[in-house]
Amino acid sequence: MTSGARALIVDRDETHARAVTEVLARAVHEVESVTELARVPAGEFDLVVASFDGLGLEGTAALLQRFRELRSRGRVLLFIGAVDRGALAGLFGEHGLSNVLARSGDLDAADLLVTVQKILRGDVFGIDKYFPATARTHRMEVRASTERDGLLEATRAFALAAGAQGRFADLLCNACDEMLTNALYNAPVDRDGKPRYAHLSRVNPVTLEPTETVVVTLASDGQEMGISVVDPFGSLKVPTITQYLAKCLRRGSDLVDEKEGGAGLGLYYVFEAVSHFVVNLQAGARTEMIGIVDVRGRYKDFVQRAKSFNVFVTSSA
């Protein structure tokens, strides 16, 4: 438990609010719960957990207006179920929302607890936080872009061996491909923080220094499959992530960046390939991208589920 931490729940659905309260009570000192914004008590909170569906809001404008109010009270974690892409784009882009948990069916208590603990504490890195200790894992290291095909083969083999349908294995490979490209081409910076390879066409091979190994970890527990790619640069910025995602979710004519480099579309491809997209940032030290694919049920279930998205920033290792 984080001593002294105070959390607020804003949710009109009292059953959901009770379930969230039970989880939060394991992580913070004090939990208050209200059913509407007009009843929010005074003061600031370490965390505000709000449920947009539970607030019974109508329309994107109202939703965005409410978000601004919540934002002034503390760090916001938002439960979002059925929400249109335009609304998400507004939340990510104009409001810099970086913590969303999908709301579908029963509350995923483990996922909520991990997310809350990561927001409140500095300990954010590691895909292991999202899987039980009994999960199968596979760790690989990479320094050269020429190793990418081998890693993709290994990722696909891991997913199939874990019993995933072919299309779920495809999703994990798609996420792996984009994360690796990001780690090898976009992430590397020189001592002044200037990008080293971002300007290069991706057909130009790159090799990182021996001290700059990128670590790929795969995990599976039969319910979910995950991939983590950690680079030793920490050059990605929160606004870069949220603004690129917003641009892609709007699906406008500027969606495809004609720049030779450019990380934007790759982040969108990862977001689309996974159920839960997590980015952990330690500026100047490392970036971890985690993609988790919910493989319960059929592919059509995956398509219909809401997605979770979290960005965590820490100053400590």
């Binding site: 095909d149 993709l152 299309r167 984009e178 969606l255 495809v256 579309l265 592919y299």
Partner: protein, 159 residues
């Protein structure tokens, strides 16, 4: 799906028409140059062998479709694979101004755990919810969401 970044683009001309066949993964390494040489008035792009597209491959693909459109060449996509359908739903510009003839739809058989793509009749804008499983003779079900899977057919934006 191949996990590698390998792809193959083959071109064959007949009269005023050209058939371009794309196979494998469309990535940064995919080269459409040969398919863009001057000559044809109509181009059919056969896509049944495309099993993966990444964010760099889609840029090259969009440039290819746009170049055909800018040159006044009529472009028809045929045998659009499940992976290509997913692309065109994610990125509206990926279809560009191309016409679509046939597309594949994903099916899953719970009895024998078989999954495969079945080709739909030309011009189809939805998939039958069920089909006969070629492996076990049981019932396969369409494994996607009709409204979103076929959404790209209704979107026609300038690329």
């Amino acid at each position: 799906m191949t996990s590698s970044t390998a792809s193959q683009v083959t071109v064959s001309d007949e009269g005023e028409g050209r058939l371009v066949t794309v196979r494998g993964a469309i990535t940064e390494a995919t080269d459409f140059t040969a398919a863009l040489s001057a000559g044809p008035k109509r181009v059919t792009v056969e896509l049944s062998g495309v099993d993966r597209v990444n964010s760099f491959g889609v840029r090259g693909w969009i440039r290819f479709v746009k170049a055909l459109s800018d040159a006044g060449v009529a472009c028809t996509l045929d045998g659009v694979s499940v992976a290509m359908v997913r692309q065109m739903n994610m990125i509206p510009q990926a279809r560009g101004g191309a016409a679509v003839r046939t597309i594949y739809a994903p099916y899953y058989c719970e009895q024998c755990d078989d999954e495969r793509a079945l080709t739909l009749a030309a011009g189809a804008t939805s998939a039958p919810e069920q089909a006969t499983c070629p492996s076990c003779g049981g019932v396969m079900e369409f494994d996607d969401v009709q409204a979103t899977y076929f959404a790209f057919l209704g979107e026609q934006r300038a690329s």
